[in-house]
């Protein structure tokens, strides 16, 4: 039963990440997504210290705020033209991440957060944390959080589909036609931050990036339209998370590790097929 829950949490996490992942790949922002998934940590810890409930929605808000803080600081530094964008990302996120790690080691070395689970996630823990109202058990809270995030991500992409495509493909024309690239950028970064937090339990800071980038990059190898790319990214996320779950059981390893490995395997297989000109979508 627990292992079915773990499987489902992994699956929902992978789907949630694959949706914004497609635009992260197209906008060449994998570095930024990595930075965000690290920077949400201090927000998670500080919000946890306030509400003392690891699955409270307030944690998501706190974490999304620290992810956005990182995007904003990066923007400030690279605007100064003193360093390039990727360098300013590199300046900001290790700072925020280390604040998070220091908070953990000071406050609660044996409580809810372990440095290890911060890095690679602890999916089993969240599979055990059920939503109980008036004595009725409604299953793991993660289901509801991840389900909401998937819904928000889908809505975001449906509502802003035309604007996202325009500003991603041709940002200059987008500005010229009167759209606000910066507004869209921050909205999108909010979506990425929320997704990074919701995925934290299942994947931790380091492996979230695999879920964001690899299924979408795999889909990008052969798809001809953005819609197809998103659909295929979700399909690859599903395949990788299910097979990754069984792989991790077989090797008795962290589930997130198994999923990340399978994301890579699926990528390599697809790449080979594309090189052999076997698929096109």
């Amino acid at each position: 039963m627990i292992s079915l829950m773990v499987l489902l949490i992994g699956l929902l996490t992978a789907i949630a990440c694959a949706i914004p992942g497609s635009y992260l790949v197209l906008r060449r922002m994998s570095m930024m997504s990595d930075a965000i998934s690290h920077s949400v940590l201090p927000g998670i810890i500080i919000a946890f210290l306030i509400v003392l409930d690891r699955s409270s929605p307030l944690i998501i808000i706190g974490a999304a705020l620290s992810g956005l803080l990182m995007v904003y600081l990066t923007e400030l530094i690279s605007r100064s033209k003193l360093v390039k964008t990727d360098a300013s990302i590199g300046l900001v996120f290790p700072g925020l991440f280390s604040i998070g790690v220091i908070l953990i080691s000071m406050q609660m070395s044996s409580v809810h957060f372990h440095e290890h689970s911060v890095l690679v996630g602890d999916i089993t823990l969240s599979a055990l944390n059920n939503l109980v109202i008036d004595g009725v058990d409604y299953g793991p809270k993660s289901f509801y959080i991840l389900g909401s995030v998937i819904l928000i991500n889908l809505l975001f992409i449906i509502i802003f589909f035309k604007e996202l495509n325009l500003t991603t493909f041709d940002p200059q024309l987008s500005e010229v036609l009167g759209f606000k690239n910066l507004t869209l950028h921050y909205l999108f970064m909010t979506i990425v931050s929320i997704t990074a937090v919701a995925s934290f339990d299942a994947a931790g800071s380091i492996l979230v990036i695999a879920l964001f980038i690899v299924p979408a990059a795999t889909a990008h190898l052969f798809t001809r339209t953005v819609i197809n790319m998103i659909i295929w990214a979700i399909i690859f996320a599903i395949i990788s998370s299910i097979s990754g779950f069984y792989l991790s059981i077989y090797f008795d390893a962290a589930v997130s590790g198994g999923i990340a490995v399978m994301c890579g395997v699926v990528f390599l297989i697809t790449l080979t097929l594309v090189k052999l000109k076997a698929i096109r979508a």
């Binding site: 035309k162 991603t168 200059q172 010229v176 036609l177 953005v226």
Partner: protein
């Protein structure tokens, strides 16, 4: 024709006064004064790094000048946005983006649609017309990464045509394309001019400069000359603006 329309038609398409632009405190455009009348095909010439793209981007408010005023059709850019079409340098976008020719041409309708509104039948019909006009109907469903340089450029031109603008700003539309595409783009420019539209195109190929344009602006940080081809297309002017970067032995006869 009433008097009001006449005054509107006499306004310059673009009027620039005392424009200075710098990146990181290094000036790339210096005290530019330029007036481009409506209904002409104007070429902006100058060597690499002369600030041609920057000039176009300043007109479109994509870069912020240090000083100067720019009016388009007598108005501030924001007021006449919908009457202006822009074709960026082909290399400015990622051609691996998953989209078909049709998808990209549709983007030209987004300005009229604004936020949230989806393109419908009308927009699709406009896009098909424009694709036909540039002779790309066979390729409408083709992925943009599978196009030749000339086909990519025609896709961009079609996207601009969809905007149904009065002023067209194009950055190097003739760079890296085949002779057939070059001819068909020129044909479209002439048709647009016939409809009273204004074409402003960056062009650094000196050999074809005088064939393609009725007016030329020679730019290299400052403006060396601007006006009718016969007045501007002169050896001294080109030589001065291009400095040592221009190989005269090859082009001398053309300029005489």
């Amino acid at each position: 024709m009433n008097s009001h329309q006449v005054t509107v038609n006499n306004l310059p398409a673009v009027e620039i006064n005392d424009l200075t632009v710098a990146y990181n405190e290094k000036p790339v455009l210096w005290d530019i004064d330029l007036s481009i009348p409506q209904g002409v095909i104007m070429g902006i010439a100058g060597p690499n790094g002369a600030g041609k793209s920057t000039l176009i981007k300043s007109i479109l408010k994509l870069v912020k000048p240090i000083a100067g005023k720019i009016k388009i059709l007598g108005e501030d850019y924001d007021k006449v946005r919908k009457r202006i079409a822009y074709v960026p340098q082909r290399s400015a976008v990622d051609w691996d983006f998953p989209a078909t020719v049709f998808d990209v041409v549709m983007m030209g309708t987004y300005g009229q649609l604004g936020w949230f509104r989806r393109p419908g039948k009308i927009q699709k019909a406009l896009a098909f017309d424009a694709i036909q006009r540039v002779g790309m109907e066979e390729y409408a469903d083709r992925q943009i990464s599978q196009l030749s340089g000339g086909q990519q450029q025609r896709t961009f031109i079609a996207r601009a045509l969809v905007q149904n603008a009065d002023v067209f700003l194009l950055d190097e539309p003739f760079a890296g394309i085949d002779a057939k595409t070059e001819k068909s783009i020129m044909q479209i420019f002439r048709e647009l001019k016939g409809e009273g539209k204004t074409i402003i195109a960056v062009h650094h190929e000196l050999i074809t400069l005088s064939d393609y344009f009725d007016m030329i602006t020679v730019l290299n940080i400052k403006i060396y000359a601007s006006g009718k081809v016969e007045d501007v297309y002169k050896k001294e002017i080109i030589y001065e603006a291009y400095g040592g970067h221009f190989n005269f032995s090859q082009n001398e006869s053309i300029l005489d």
